[in-house]
């Protein structure tokens, strides 16, 4: 099936595909993931602390974002943000949308992880004189990060692949670049399989990073 010409195409296109993967796809996913995790911690903490009004705002945010497609959110941002005077380049816009989107899901993951820390530890923290934020920082957050870590990494791996949706707002990422090469050569299938393998490669590396991360975060002396 693979003739010499196809082979040559695959080899010559590989660095071009990889380049856009490393320069666009991965940075988009990783930056948005980090920002979304920060957002998720804030949104989860507001709910965990039962802050009135803010808590309702957070629930509303999660409800809207989880209830609408990512593709639609990208489009709304692309056409809507300039109307309110925000002119960002498509990459930055994609980072914003992915952050807001993933933040809503990760906030729920983080909230569940915070609630999984036995309430007695919060009480014990109060009893030794700590305030809520000190207890959050030293007791609740470290433990909930450990609990949420695999789920958060799931989200990152999903996001690496979902970045292809950014093509809809003119971001040329790895998949769009592949489509362009395929369009020029009229040889679609081998190139799509090639880009699939690159995605797989990225996610394999991330899975490895996850394993290392879980080791570093430790399990507080629990034997496994």
């Amino acid at each position: 099936m693979i003739n010499e010409k196809t082979m040559e195409l695959l080899i010559s296109s590989f660095p071009k595909i990889l380049e856009f993967g490393l320069k666009v796809t991965l940075p988009l996913a990783v930056i948005a993931f980090i920002l979304s995790t920060v957002l998720a911690v804030l949104v989860a903490t507001v709910q965990f602390a039962e802050v009135p009004v803010l808590k309702q705002i957070c629930r509303f945010y999660i409800w809207v974002i989880r209830g609408t497609p990512l593709l639609v959110q990208l489009m709304v941002a692309f056409y809507g943000l300039p109307l309110i005077g925000i002119h960002a380049n498509p990459f930055v816009m994609a980072v914003i949308v992915f952050t807001i989107n993933e933040g809503a899901y990760s906030a729920e993951t983080m909230r569940a992880a915070m609630e999984a820390v036995p309430a007695g530890q919060l009480e014990a923290g109060y009893c030794v004189g700590m305030n809520f934020m000190q207890i959050m920082w030293h007791i609740i957050l470290p433990q909930s990060f450990r609990t949420a870590f695999p789920s958060l990494f799931n989200a990152l791996i999903s996001m690496v692949k979902d970045t292809s949706l950014a093509s809809s707002i003119t971001v040329v990422e790895m998949f769009t670049r592949t489509k362009q090469i395929a369009g020029q050569s009229y040889n679609y299938l081998p190139l799509y399989i090639e880009v699939a393998i690159v995605y797989l490669l990225f996610c394999t590396v991330l899975t490895f990073v996850q394993k290392r991360g879980e080791k570093i975060l430790g399990s507080y002396g629990v034997r496994k």
Partner: protein
């Protein structure tokens, strides 16, 4: 010298009245044991004194000040907690911290004491409860009795005026119970002021300067140490003591 006084403490959970006007006075150096059947409100009483539950009515006199329990400000609560210790039935050690850091955290984080000084203090109190050799371990690596001794060290580290013990041995088997009671006995002899909610009648008999018997949300009877057990006055107390004698 009076250290702490509770006046007319009321607490409801939904429509269930758990505490129906409790009064309690604790002198400095007192070891007050609170006895009573399950559901009599002993634990709730302790939790209200330390604001883990919000009382519906009542006053707390602590040191030189009087606080109206339902309306005590956040700052007052915080300053009261900084002068008290609490030991829970389920230990409630911080799972992500080593034994040492379980003890230092209240010093470094809540009181901004330098890490070095906090560690010295922590090792001192851990030595006292016989847990200094376990300083680097995590709570999950310890037995229940060891965890409870660390929890006592954590309460001691902040040099509290009084320590509240909420059924500290109820989750432990007899052998582990003995090692925890031994530590508490020592504290009592050193003059630490303590309120102990307990089911350990013999411990209460031996160590208490004052025994309070509660039933159905009220103090039925209180007496001084051994006298309470030898000459109970109320029928409800006699009944309880008869049933718990085995």
């Amino acid at each position: 010298m009076k250290l702490l006084e509770i006046r007319n403490l009321h607490k409801k959970f939904d429509s269930t009245e758990v505490l129906k006007g409790v009064d309690l006075t604790v002198e400095k150096g007192d070891v007050v044991s609170i006895l009573g059947p399950s559901g009599s409100g002993k634990t709730t009483l302790l939790r209200c004194i330390n604001f883990l539950e919000k009382a519906d009515e009542g006053d707390l006199v602590f040191g030189e000040k009087t606080y109206h329990l339902p309306k005590t400000s956040r700052d007052d609560i915080s300053s009261i907690r900084k002068r008290t210790g609490f030991v829970f039935q389920n230990y409630n050690l911080f799972a992500n911290k080593t034994v040492l850091h379980n003890v230092t955290l209240g010093l470094t984080s809540a009181r901004h004491i330098h890490a070095k000084a906090a560690e010295e203090k922590a090792l001192e109190v851990l030595r006292k409860v016989g847990m200094a050799d376990f300083a680097g371990q995590y709570p999950s690596q310890l037995s229940g009795g060891q965890q409870q001794r660390v929890a006592i060290a954590r309460a001691l580290a902040t040099d509290p005026d009084i320590i509240f013990f909420d059924e500290p041995t109820s989750a432990l088997d007899p052998e582990l119970t003995a090692e925890v009671l031994e530590v508490m006995r020592e504290l009592a002899h050193e003059g630490m002021t303590m309120i102990v909610v307990t089911h350990e009648i013999s411990f209460a008999k031996e160590v208490s300067s004052k025994v309070v018997f509660m039933a159905e949300g009220k103090v039925v009877e209180e007496g001084h140490g051994a006298d309470f057990f030898e000459n109970p006055k109320e029928d409800r107390t006699k009944e309880f003591l008869r049933l718990t004698k085995n």
